[in-house]
């Protein structure tokens, strides 16, 4: 479904991602792990159009998407969340989620002025769907809340609901458990597993090793911008390079 080949991104003299290749199969949960500064988020930003690759290619469902703007990737069914929260704090929680349905709605200015998009109950249906997704991701308690009054953990879920609202073909989660406590992390793990069961393709960047090992079908390990290893959780767990370079210190916990 998604094929990354020889992807490289350099910022000035620093090469954040260097010659990374991997493939994501439809309907699986794929994880990208690695120590801080390994280039995980840069890799995400490259695939989701926030950055333009220095070289290499990203092929999504048969077409090259390297350097394509995020809003055009959204049309192809690519959706994502952010490590550093990107929620519009000037909106209510449910409005944030509803923006996820943007592409499916009539967003003309003139149409909006004369109330066209509202005809046939489209807005009503969108609103109900948004509430359902908020319930699904576990922030149903905040349906009536303003985004700015929500706690951090709930906002992370809100981002997932917004991404789901777009009916994505592939969903990128950038450190969904970052900054969450033990219980919350566990709940996010369940949520990701539940997403996987629905058949949606998920790619996640995550620090929490336990979460990654539990939910992923395949794992790519990055170190210093390069791919160190790739395989199933079982393979990664015993990969000598990975154990040496990254897991060494905390291998007992895995």
């Amino acid at each position: 479904m998604l094929r990354v080949e020889n992807l490289t991104k350099a910022f000035g003299g620093v090469t954040a991602v260097s010659g990374v290749s991997f493939e994501v199969t439809k309907g699986t949960i794929h994880a990208v792990i690695g120590p801080n500064g390994a280039g995980k988020t840069t890799l995400f930003n490259l695939i989701t159009g926030v950055y333009t690759p220095s070289s290499g290619s990203i092929v999504f469902e048969g077409s090259e998407i390297g350097g394509v703007a995020p809003e055009r990737l959204a049309k192809r069914g690519i959706s994502r969340t952010f490590q550093n929260l990107q929620v519009s704090m000037n909106l209510s929680a449910i409005d944030n989620v509803m923006t996820g349905a943007h592409l499916g709605l009539n967003s003309g200015l003139l149409a909006g002025m004369i109330g066209l998009p509202d005809l046939g109950g489209r807005e009503r249906a969108t609103r109900i769907r948004a509430a359902e997704l908020m319930e699904f991701v576990g922030c149903g308690a905040y349906v009536a809340a303003e985004a700015r009054s929500m706690p951090y953990g709930a906002l992370k879920r809100l981002e997932i609901a917004r991404a789901l609202m777009a009916n994505p073909r592939i969903l990128f989660l950038d450190e969904p458990a970052a900054g969450l406590n033990h219980t919350e992390t566990h709940e996010i793990e369940d949520l990701i597993a539940a997403l996987g069961k629905t058949g949606i393709t998920v790619v996640l960047v995550e620090h929490d090793m336990k979460l990654v090992m539990n939910v992923s079908d395949r794992i790519v390990v990055l170190d210093y911008g390069k791919k160190l290893a790739e395989g199933t959780p079982a393979e990664i767990r015993v990969d000598p390079d990975v154990v040496a370079a990254y897991l060494g210190a905390e291998s007992e916990g895995v």
Binding site: F11, N45, V50, Y51, F82, N84
Partner: protein, 290 residues
């Protein structure tokens, strides 16, 4: 040829004052990320205060000095009362605040000093100096010389002193500067005081040539802003080059093309620059960041 020389002289003279205004903009922009739309009022205020004091019989050098000090104090006051309380506001709000400040300054001057234009005596006589068929007012020499001295002093200040280095460090990376012990609040305050003083110097220098009045600050400030944008916001060299270039282009247009469209030149120019090279002539390249 003599006409060209004449235009060159007046272009450089005007350009020097634009450069001072642009330096003021850049300084505040560097320290705080704020574009101070009230910078022009500092220039106006400098000229007005000096003119009023000399008219009251105070000797010129003393009046000039007093004007600079008064305006610097106004700059500090503005930062303390209007900018600091709104530190967390977005760019739009801060732009509006500085516009509000400029109205207050302009209004207060209008009420207290009146609407009439005022002139300052020339620093050292009005006998023009003839050079190559063109004439140069001694005041023009003053403008250029003082600007050069100010620029040199600023270079020393930023290169050698603690406060100067602090301002530069804050401009570069606010958080890092804070971590190594730079008092960012004080840097902000200092940059406003300094920028105001710079504005006052410009105002005092140009007042003998162009009479000043309560509403002169708007255009001067806007042109300083244009010069700063032209050279690249935040760049010292850019501000000076931008100011001089702007002055030259403006006077050349007035001389050779159309004097009625002289004031439009900077704005046409800045539109072109923003389109072709948004970071200005000497600005840094765009950085990529989420």
């Amino acid at each position: 040829m003599s006409q060209f020389l004449q235009l060159l002289f007046s272009g450089l003279t005007v350009g020097a004052t634009y450069a001072l205004a642009a330096l003021g903009f850049s300084m505040i922009y560097n320290a705080s990320g704020v574009i101070n739309f009230a910078q022009g009022e500092f220039i106006m205020l400098g000229g007005m205060v000096a003119a009023v004091l000399t008219a009251a019989g105070i000797p010129l050098p003393l009046a000039v000095l007093a004007a600079i000090v008064v305006v610097a104090l106004v700059g500090l006051l503005v930062e303390k009362l209007a900018i600091e309380p709104a530190r967390d506001a977005d760019i739009t709000s801060i732009i509006i605040i500085t516009i509000g400040v400029s109205m207050i300054v302009r209004g207060v001057v209008e009420v207290t000093l009146g609407k009439g234009g005022r002139a300052l005596p020339h620093f050292s006589g009005e006998t023009p100096i003839a050079i190559g068929g063109a004439t140069l007012l001694p005041q023009s020499l003053w403008v250029m010389a003082v600007t050069a001295v100010v620029v040199a002093a600023l270079a020393l200040f930023f290169g050698r002193t603690r406060v100067g280095k602090g301002i530069l460090a804050t401009a570069h990376n606010r958080l890092a500067a804070q971590l190594v012990g730079v008092d960012v609040k004080k840097v902000l305050l200092a940059s406003f005081g300094l920028a105001a003083a710079l504005g006052a110097v410009g105002g005092v220098l140009i007042a003998p040539i162009a009479t000043t009045s309560y509403d002169a600050g708007l255009m001067l400030g806007l042109k300083g802003f244009v010069a700063a944008t032209f050279g690249g916001l935040g760049s010292g060299v850019g501000a000076i080059a931008g100011g001089l270039l702007l002055g030259l282009i403006e006077t050349m247009t007035a001389g050779y093309l159309s004097s009625s469209y002289k004031d439009a030149v900077p704005f046409v120019l800045v539109l072109v620059i923003l389109v072709v090279r948004p970071r200005g002539l000497f600005g840094l390249g765009p950085s990529e960041r989420v």
